[in-house]
């Protein structure tokens, strides 16, 4: 890519993306989710269970309010999700891109999981309408240790600790040590197997040992508060107001155009060209620093 197909179209795209970006940052500031609701999403094992969680329904509403398109869930893995977005406005904004276009949506998903759910997450677009796909799809991978911290409680962690210290310890002895009944121990062991913390023979896996070793470095907030969907009207109003403000600011900036004079054009420093001449670029910077130090 060396030139925009249409410069005016590109400036309009920048303005639209500024509006979306402002909506995203406003929503993220107001949407912190309590751990108990995060846990409901994390323990959902298939797409329908995910769709039934209040947290996912809230995500759908927020996507709609911001104008990012229709969010759905396509695949559920162990601490990973493939989300799909119908009618995303992004590909149409960047028609001259050859591949995937929706970095803004990928970053929004990653920021939501990291900042509002408290679980660091990476997000990547894996299919895009711009490449001929039916929907834009995003693979979101959660930090496994932090996700374990959110789904496992202190009793689960005690069971892992007992199993590491004494691998042959039985259900009855675990129940006695932790003062809980054997049925509960069995249920918890099944859950730990699902998360690959324990293997089929109830031994702690390498993943389990790694989690247990590093768990203290990833604290989780136990703070209880109302989930953000109880103030959805306020969030919607804030998104609308912030987006309108961003549009007004874009209009103001749009007035600021500049035409370079032939003299200015002649003296443009092409940073890529200068950087290729490594030593001279360092000298150029050093000269400027010296000049600034003398002036300042």
């Amino acid at each position: 890519m060396t030139h925009f197909r249409s410069f005016a179209q590109r400036v309009a795209a920048l303005d639209k993306m500024t509006s979306l970006e402002t909506g995203i940052s406003t929503a993220i500031k107001m949407s912190k989710v309590p751990r108990k609701e995060v846990k409901k999403l994390l323990i959902a094992r298939d797409e329908n269970q995910v769709r039934n969680t209040p947290l996912f329904q809230f995500m759908q509403m927020i996507f709609d309010e911001i104008g990012l398109g229709g969010l759905d869930i396509k695949e559920v893995g162990r601490f990973s999700y493939v989300f799909s977005v119908r009618n995303s406005p992004i590909p149409a904004l960047i028609p001259d891109a050859k591949g995937k276009t929706c970095y803004i949506t990928a970053d929004a998903l990653s920021a939501f999981f990291t900042k509002d759910l408290g679980i660091p997450a990476s997000s990547e677009e894996i299919r895009c309408i711009n490449e001929g796909a039916e929907t834009c799809d995003f693979l979101v991978k959660l930090n496994a240790i932090q996700a374990y911290q959110s789904v496992l409680d202190e009793i689960d962690k005690d069971i892992i600790g007992l199993k590491i210290k004494k691998p042959s310890i039985g259900v009855d002895n675990i129940a006695e040590s932790l003062d809980i009944d054997e049925e509960e121990v069995k249920y918890r062991i099944e859950t730990l197997q699902h998360y690959e913390i324990l293997d089929e023979e109830h031994r702690v896996t390498d993943i389990g040992k790694t989690y247990y070793r590093f768990r203290m470095a990833f604290p989780v907030s136990e703070e209880d508060f109302d989930p953000p969907w109880q103030m959805i009207k306020e969030i919607s109003a804030a998104i609308a107001a912030a987006s309108s403000f961003a549009e007004a600011m874009s209009e103001r900036v749009k007035e600021e155009k500049k035409v370079l004079s032939p003299e200015e054009e002649k003296n443009i420093i092409n940073l890529a060209e200068e950087a290729k001449k490594s030593r001279s670029f360092a000298e150029l910077l050093a000269k400027q620093i010296n000049k600034e130090e003398k002036e300042g």
């Binding site: 890519m1 060396t2 993306m17 200068e274």
Partner: protein, 176 residues
């Protein structure tokens, strides 16, 4: 629109630094960021700097609210009055940059796993949701590139991690 005609993106502060780690860098300067048909232009009111789109290698976002334009041998950090405007600018440019090969991403993930003390290729494959053979290939490549030596991550290997990833590693008690 002629290439000398510019559209202002944002009032900014910027810093240009040499990309070889020597540490030569300018102080933050006040200026303006512009877009032309084929370049990103930035000015401090006195000098004009240009980054042609074709030379742009990456546009990353820093934790402290700046974006960073990366070209071979140099980096330009930019802070704006509106962080959202700059992030929108970043998201507009990213689809137009040639993508990094996927094997570089595997190498980065592999380095992080080894730093965390996870060396079993089957465990790494499971955690990264990759085939064991892909991890074996990545290990060979990491050794060849000098990122790992004798099963340990070298300084060169650590250098490919981002500042954000290094911070997470430090929180986990890893020396990076």
């Amino acid at each position: 629109m002629a290439d000398t005609e510019l559209q202002k993106v944002e009032t900014v502060m910027f810093q240009i630094s040499h990309g070889d780690g020597v540490g030569v860098s300018l102080m933050w300067k006040d200026g303006s960021l512009y877009l032309s048909v084929s370049k990103i232009m930035i000015t401090d009111g006195e000098r004009w700097y240009a980054v042609p789109f074709e030379d742009l290698k990456d546009v990353s976002a820093g934790d402290e609210g700046y974006i960073s334009l990366k070209i071979d041998g140099a980096e330009i950090k930019i802070r704006g009055e509106s962080a959202e405007r700059l992030m929108a600018f970043r998201h507009l440019l990213l689809p137009l940059i040639e993508k990094r090969p996927e094997d570089e991403e595997i190498l980065e993930e592999l380095i992080k796993m080894i730093l965390l003390g996870i060396k079993d290729k089957r465990v790494i494959a499971s955690l990264l949701k990759r085939d064991v053979s892909a991890i074996e290939d990545a290990m060979k490549k990491a050794e060849k590139l000098g990122y790992i030596d004798g099963g340990r991550v070298t300084e060169k290997g650590k250098s490919i991690l981002s500042d954000e990833e290094k911070e997470i590693m430090r929180k986990a008690g890893v020396d990076v």
